[in-house]
Point group: C3
Chain length 203, copies 3
């Protein structure tokens, strides 16, 4: 379980870093950066825990999650101006984070005995809701409502994970396969500009 | 109780359909439509359950609610472009949904022994908060903060329901009378452009 | 404890009044004012209680909080147009409210045995989240993400309170000192335009 924990913390850090970089467009002070970094990193799991009634939420008795968000946000705040990272530098870590959060969230819900549809929803919420709350705070329409295959990759992976588990595959193999599928779908969608049908488009 | 359940699911469907139709103005993809449809249908009861500590929230162990939201949103997404419904087609179902959600929410809170003021508040939250969260996600000032008698009809009905129950009227009769009053107030307000005093207006 | 209770209610009233005054810029009707007034007054403690799992949230079984919000909002709604208060009239009550909410929130979390970092976070959430939700509803980027030392004063006071308590100072003395430090930092920041380093600024 220790590997999952380390990966989980890494995903929190990646979310905090990308959120801080994106926040560069806005005039946030250091405290605002902390808020955005922490919420992006732990917001999804927080909403999942509240809906499922797993209270207090997971980071209340393990402050390492909040610390990772603060440290990652602060370092990015001061270093982010100097470094000029290539635009796509975080695409792969970001897809990995989405994959990990989704599979962990789905797994948590399944263990509590929730029906598969709800468990997959909890996986998606864990994967994307940190970004949703961040966008609401920054007064933007959340990305997942208007962009290409992001939440959809998360949903596909959550459903695959549930199918593999129910077919009797081992937990670790199911996780690995589901996570790989999320990363592949996400990167393929970016590479070939795949998207779902849209409202408002001429169809 | 089976009739209430069917009515409740119908109200979820109506909320999902109207939310999808309203979302036509925005460039949402199919996944975004699901998010908006589900949240509009079950958001109010979710906030109520969290505040009251009825966790996990009501739809976690009954996935039919989420399914109804997804199906209603998907059908509207694909059919909504072809049909051109009259503008006021959903005014009455919408008022019925508001009435039903309000009375159910108030009733749930009363059964938990909350004071009448809080129970009426929970009724209003159940009735209107799905729309509030939908508007926040779509980056608009929530309708209830700026429009005519909508939440006010919900509040009046919740208070009437509590008064009738405390006067010893049967549960079903109280529900029916309170719901009727909400529908009548709501439709009358639309018909005769009644509204509360406003800030900023020349008074 | 009765003094704390009265102070707490006063802080709710101050939040409701300032929120209603600020809402004057927008076309809210009376119901919208109630929503804004109540949420500004009790939103922070509500989010804290949900995260910590103290459910139902604190105002469900004590409707006096909601009543204070409604009465303060209504009076301000009708009197606010006539009175022209000096612009800075509420700066000191507002700073006192921030101080009180912060220290109460931190104290509540400490009593539940949460780690100090999380307890200070709960203090800040109690102090500032009512305003955050109000700003989200009004479709503005929350003030704490873009303005001078507000949440930072709250955080500094929360940390001082925890330090003093752990050094063995009495509860009342710790509260008083921490609250004073929040008020002083807040007013000093306003007086001398102190702020944290900002993203996007030429540095």
């Amino acid at each position: 379980m220790s590997l999952i924990y380390l990966l989980d913390l890494s995903a929190v850090a990646v979310c905090a870093i990308t959120a801080t970089l994106e926040a560069h467009r806005r005039e946030l002070d250091l405290f605002g950066v902390w808020v955005i970094a922490i919420i992006s990193g732990i917001g999804g799991g927080t909403v999942r825990d509240i809906l499922l009634g797993r209270l207090p939420v997971y980071w209340v008795h393990d402050p390492v999650y909040v610390m990772v968000g603060i440290v990652a946000g602060t370092l990015t705040f001061f270093l982010g101006r100097r470094l000029s990272l290539p635009k796509n530098f975080f695409l792969i870590p970001d897809a990995l984070g989405l994959a990990l959060f989704t599979v962990i969230g789905t797994s948590v819900a399944l263990k509590l005995g929730t029906p598969w549809l709800i468990a997959s929803l909890m996986g998606v919420i864990t994967g994307v809701f940190g970004g949703v709350i961040r966008d609401i705070l920054c007064n933007e329409v959340p990305l997942i409502l208007r962009t290409d295959i992001y939440a959809t990759a998360s949903l596909a992976g959550a459903l695959l994970f549930i199918a593999l588990e129910s077919l009797g595959m081992t937990h670790n193999a199911s996780m690995l396969l589901a996570m790989s599928s999320i990363v592949i779908i996400r990167l393929a969608a970016i590479r070939w500009h795949i998207h779902l049908p849209r409202l408002g488009a001429e169809a």
